[in-house]
Amino acid sequence: MAKLVYGVFDDVPYDNRDSTSYQTPPEIDLEAFNYFNKDNPIALFCNERGFLVFDAEVSLLLSLQKHFEKVAAGSCGKCSPCRTGSALVLRLLNQAVLGKTAVDWELMQEIATQMVKTSLCGVGKTGPIPLLGALKYFRKELQPTPPDLKRGFFSTMTSPCIEACPGLVNIPRYIDYIKDGHTDLSANLVLRHYPLVGSCGRVCVRTCEQACQRAHVDAPISIRNLKRFAADQAIAAHVLKPEPVKLEHEQRVAIVGAGPVGIACSYHLLSLGYPCDIFEAKAQAGGMIRYGIPIYRLPKDTLQEEINIVLQMGGKIIFNQCLGRDFHIDDLFKQGYAAVFLACGCPQGSYLGMPDEDTSLATYENGIEFLERVYAGVEAKNPPVLDGDVVVVGGGNVAMDCCRAAVRIAKGTVHVIYRRTEADAPADKEEIAAAKEEGVQFHFLCGQDSLVVENGKIVGLKVQDMEQTDPDASGRRGVRPIANSSKILPCQHVIAAIGQRTDPKMLCAADKIEVNRKNCVVVNAAQETSRPGVFAAGDCTAGPRAQGPTTLIMGMGQAYFAARSIERYLRQGEVSFDSRWRMTDLINQGHLMQPDKEPVNLKVKAPRVPVRELPAADRCHSFAEVEQTMTPEEAWSEAARCLRCYRIYSVVTAKHIPGGE
């Protein structure tokens, strides 16, 4: 385990150099600090809580100067103590490193303290903390040293929302760009991560909002809607225009699947100059967000516009080409592709697996089939009609999409049954609320038992009430059926919305690609599969970041890193290490990202701007988009609520970090 030599954490000094009792900060797992990358021990770490030295030889002054360069660079320039304070402190640090003149340590401490005590946001409030710890407890260690060229340094400016985003998108910065009046730059910042900005701005599961510290004041920032606003203003309004990219490399990449993950990966590879061909099983691009997400949530012209970015850059999509049916992996290499990226998704829905269920019944569908059928009908201006009552089984977002789509085309009542409680339902709470407004009847703690079929037609679903079990050791509560509670919910349609899976014919043994028992492609942290040159991401994969069907943003986040791995594979013949994701792993392993210590709840309150929606009465028979874009006034005032909870994490390592400084 990494041995702490000395350091300051949460304003407590630790010095194990001469002491007999070894002391370390509580609740910090030092195991995480052994190595940053392979064979490269961490010599020093600093963040918003202090600094930890693991190598007695490392220069504390040089390390803090490097860290402070990041602070000064990260200063947004709006608040006075951080803007000029960080520049003044950095100047003093630079003088100290040179060691030619006497250093005014008192002035450095005065300004750094002012930054911490009075800055507006996390950069100034937390950036100088390691320096202040050193000035207070280890000033004699701050000795000038010549530049240490053999060591590695990596630093990142992050925040709770960024760490919660599987794409690691710099959320406070794009919010700031909106506040500053630059929707072009706001949208473009997100475009660095993926092309489907407006689509993600409509349907993202927004784990960022759950991490948002503004919740301690009043309510989280409406992050997703702000992103949508920027996309609507800049991308949909054609302020930002895609252009053909100069494809300077000869090596071509085959992308399998034109869903969001395949589109995102090809987008990044194209911008790096690699020609990409995308093989798509269906006749249109977009995958699950075209067929699976109903039009009232994501208008398909928005999606198509964003897919077109990739086409305008020079990507090609070859339609009606299905892996396992029309071609195999070897065929792609034979055609001269230098690398293959699998983003086949989970295109098949699951049935409920009830005893004796007959999946050939016309009105027993799985959610994926149903949503595809509705999509095709709406696109053809001839939506299907559901006669009678409908029961949707499931509590996730697919179930919400199914019941809300069904309510728009059903002549009878639409029910949702879910075996757990409403609080346990994984669906977005706002989706449940919207479904209720539209007239969907919910039955929580209600499990399916069997289909009731008469004369070859469904006439009902036998269900039974459930109850919660006592909490287990981990505090989780299960559910169990209540005896003698069976009843029949009369209905003519049953839609199973409980899960989805990969195409079982996707891969064959000759492909030499390892899959897990759920037929998901096994990948490592670099999104490599077991076969060299073949990479994969998204729903069809199982790896350290996600197993099987996952979220849009997780898939696109993986695609971003997969593209970087592919680039390095094509350039160097091997994939290398990614410092930024390693830092996120370090933050998670070491339990380093703590909620704000300073109580922010005394901020003057400013209510979250509500999303404007079509009235329930207007929308429940229409596939028109329900949620409306913000006005600029709304977006500015929402963006102004952001607290910018930035923190800076830096490591100094024994050796250079590959791909790093």
């Binding site: 990041k70 000064a72 660079a73 990260g74 200063s75 947004c76 320039g77 709006k78 608040c79 006075s80 103590p81 803007r83 000029t84 304070g85 960080s86 520049a87 003044l88 100047r91 005065e110 300004i111 002012q114 005590k117 009075t118 800055s119 507006l120 990142t156 400016m157 992050t158 710099n170 910065r173 506040k179 500053d180 009046g181 630059h182 072009d184 730059l185 473009n188 910042l189 475009l191 660095r192 054609h238 302020v239 930002l240 225009k241 895609p242 252009e243 990219v245 911008s271 970015i309 930024r580 300073e598 109580p599 005394l602 901020k603 003057v604 309150k605 600029p632 006034e633 500015w636 102004a640």
Partner: protein, 599 residues
């Protein structure tokens, strides 16, 4: 609910900020960026520091964005609080270009006041980061204004007024760190940006970062030249505004003193923009009648306000056919002072230089419009704002307080009416037009000259007026502040506007609160009621109340223009507009290079 302020207990209101709480109880906390009149509280200056103690302990917070809670102990004067407030101002000054002696805000600067309020006695970092300040942009591209970012302290008030009051949203925040400045979006420079140069931002800027382009030296060159005949004129509102600069009570009428002062500095001819306002009513009123009678584009919008014209051209060009083609009073005065006036006075027209004194920043831009020039010679040569003109008088040692008033005496272009003088307030143009249009239609004056629903300061005011048997009742609307104008214009374009005639003034309140008027530190349009009332009082006391009854107007038409909207009138006194809307667009890659981010 109670909390403590420096040992004393006071009641506080739920949700109230410490700054509001302290002010309500008469306790002063120095502050800079927050701006109460706009409810603007960006919390960027970080000067309003106080120490609070509650159950969670003692800490330093900014008073503007921290709520008072039960039993909170707030200290605004401890040594630590004072030291931190003072250090904060020192840090603000560290990247502020401190050429105070050469600054437009010399002696009238909120940053200087703040420095005094926190007891600043040393300025340790003034030279350390001076290079960073000097590197920032000083944009001199705009015809009316300067944007000197070396002096910006990032209070963001200008951004707020541009969005919240004007709905223009031309200003953006650009760059990062010491390079952070107020920018103009994707436009290459200020002049071609979405800015309409109304100058409302200059009224809220606490320093000299935003100011009008000072053209006093050009005026002094004219005064010094033996080959130039200087013709000075000043706008209706200027007579109740200039006193602000010399300590007169708000709204004091200093018309006679201005005339005397102009003569004192050597003006050759002093005429009155009020006269031109009466001409505008004759032209615009006739134009309105023609549109009503001939089925022209209705509603007709007024066109006196250059901020509004710029807004229409740059932001909502679909509305341009609805604008009156009649020039503004300044735009009418210019050509008449270079044709009619020399003809009657026997002057060499080529030697005439028109200098107009305006409450407005955008009037400088109007004077530079190519449509307002003939054969390359501008109709108006220089426009001075009220602020510049007061500076000119101080430079020339003219004491407005003690100078004895003198009357206008030009027999051709100085007679005025009550209708003209109320041009200076929102609703005035409409009221003046109504008086004349009614008389033109009915051959008799409107009973009860004051059209009450048209008066006041509501952002949008509407009225219905019976114009007599020929036209019948018409709906009228008045708005000021461009956010309101946008709403009315969009209604017109949507085909749902019920109005026949709409008056727009870009600045809230109209010219009395124009972008070229006096700056009042920490307040915004504070004395508008009194200024408006002064104009109404002037109207009330005038011998002539209607433009068509101005004897010099009658003479002008009889002897020179023949009739309103005559060919000659059209040639000299009307104009046209151009669609100047820009649709910025950029390739994703090109735009990406402008991203400033640290990850």
């Amino acid at each position: 609910m109670k909390a403590f302020l420096n040992k004393r207990e006071y009641d506080f209101q739920d949700g109230e900020s410490i700054l509001e709480f302290a002010r309500r109880h008469g306790v002063f906390i120095p502050s800079l960026c927050q701006f109460k009149p706009l409810e603007h509280r960006p919390a960027t200056c970080r000067v309003c520091l106080v120490s609070v103690t509650d159950a969670a302990g003692t800490r330093m917070v900014t008073a503007c964005d921290t709520r008072v809670t039960q039993d909170m102990y707030i200290d605004t004067i401890s040594k630590e609080v004072r030291d931190r407030q003072r250090l904060q101002v020192e840090l603000i000054l560290a990247d502020h270009h401190q050429d105070c002696a050469a600054c437009a805000r010399h002696g009238d600067c909120e940053l200087q006041d703040l420095s005094e309020a926190v007891g600043l006695s040393r300025n340790r970092f003034a030279q350390v980061l001076a290079g960073a300040a000097a590197k920032r942009l000083c944009d001199t591209s705009a015809t009316s204004m300067l944007r000197d970012m070396t002096k910006c302290i990032r209070c963001l008030r200008c951004v707020e007024v541009c969005r919240k009051i004007q709905g223009v949203a031309a200003l953006t925040v650009d760059g990062r760190g010491l390079g952070t400045v107020i920018g103009v979006g994707m436009a290459p420079d200020h002049n071609t940006s979405a800015c309409i140069q109304c100058g409302q931002c200059t009224l809220v800027c606490p320093t000299g970062a935003l100011a009008e382009r000072d053209q006093n030296d050009q005026v002094l060159d004219y005064l010094a030249s033996p080959d130039v005949i200087t013709v000075f004129s000043f706008a209706p509102s200027v007579r109740v505004l200039l006193g602000d600069e010399f300590g007169f009570p708000a709204g004091s009428n200093v018309e006679g003193k201005i005339v005397a002062a102009l003569r004192a500095i050597g003006a050759d001819v002093v005429i009155d923009t009020d006269f031109a306002a009466d001409v505008v009513i004759m032209e615009e009123g006739t134009e309105l009648l023609n549109r009503v009678r001939e089925g022209g584009k209705l509603p007709m919008f007024t066109s006196c306000c250059p901020g509004w014209i710029n807004f229409a051209e740059k932001h909502i060009p679909g509305i341009l056919p609805y604008l009156s083609t009649t020039r503004s009073p300044q735009g009418v005065l210019g050509p008449l002072a270079k044709t009619y006036l020399p003809l009657r006075m026997g002057l060499d027209a080529k030697k005439i230089r028109n200098i107009s004194i305006m409450p407005c920043v955008a009037k400088k831009d109007e004077a530079a419009r190519p449509q307002l020039a003939r054969d390359g010679v501008p109709d108006i040569d220089v426009v001075l704002t009220v602020r510049e003109f007061s500076r000119l008088l101080r430079r020339l040692g003219v004491d407005l307080v003690n100078i004895a008033p003198e009357p206008f005496d030009n027999p051709f272009m100085s007679a005025s009416t009550g209708a003209a003088v109320i041009f200076g307030t929102t609703g005035g143009v409409m009221e003046a037009a109504v008086r004349t249009v009614y008389a033109l239609l009915n051959g008799q004056e409107l009973q009860g000259i004051v059209a009450a629903p048209l008066r006041g300061l509501e952002g949008v005011r509407t009225a219905e007026l019976d114009l007599g048997p020929e036209v019948g009742p018409v709906k009228l609307a008045i708005c000021h502040g461009l956010r309101n104008a946008k709403i009315l214009a969009e209604e017109v374009l949507a085909g749902t506007s019920p109005y026949t005639f709409i008056e727009v003034m870009a600045c809230p309140g109209g010219c009395i609160d124009g972008g070229g008027t006096s700056r009042f530190k920490g307040s915004y349009h504070a004395a508008k009621q009194r200024k408006q009332q002064s104009l109404y009082d002037l109207d009330h006391n005038m011998h002539y109340r209607q433009s068509h009854n101005n004897p010099q107007i009658k003479l002008l038409y009889e002897e020179f223009l023949t009739a309103p909207n005559s060919e000659k009138a059209h040639h000299l006194l009307h104009t046209y507009y151009r669609d100047r809307q820009e649709w910025p667009s950029q390739s994703i890659e090109e735009n990406k290079r402008k991203l400033t981010l640290v990850e």
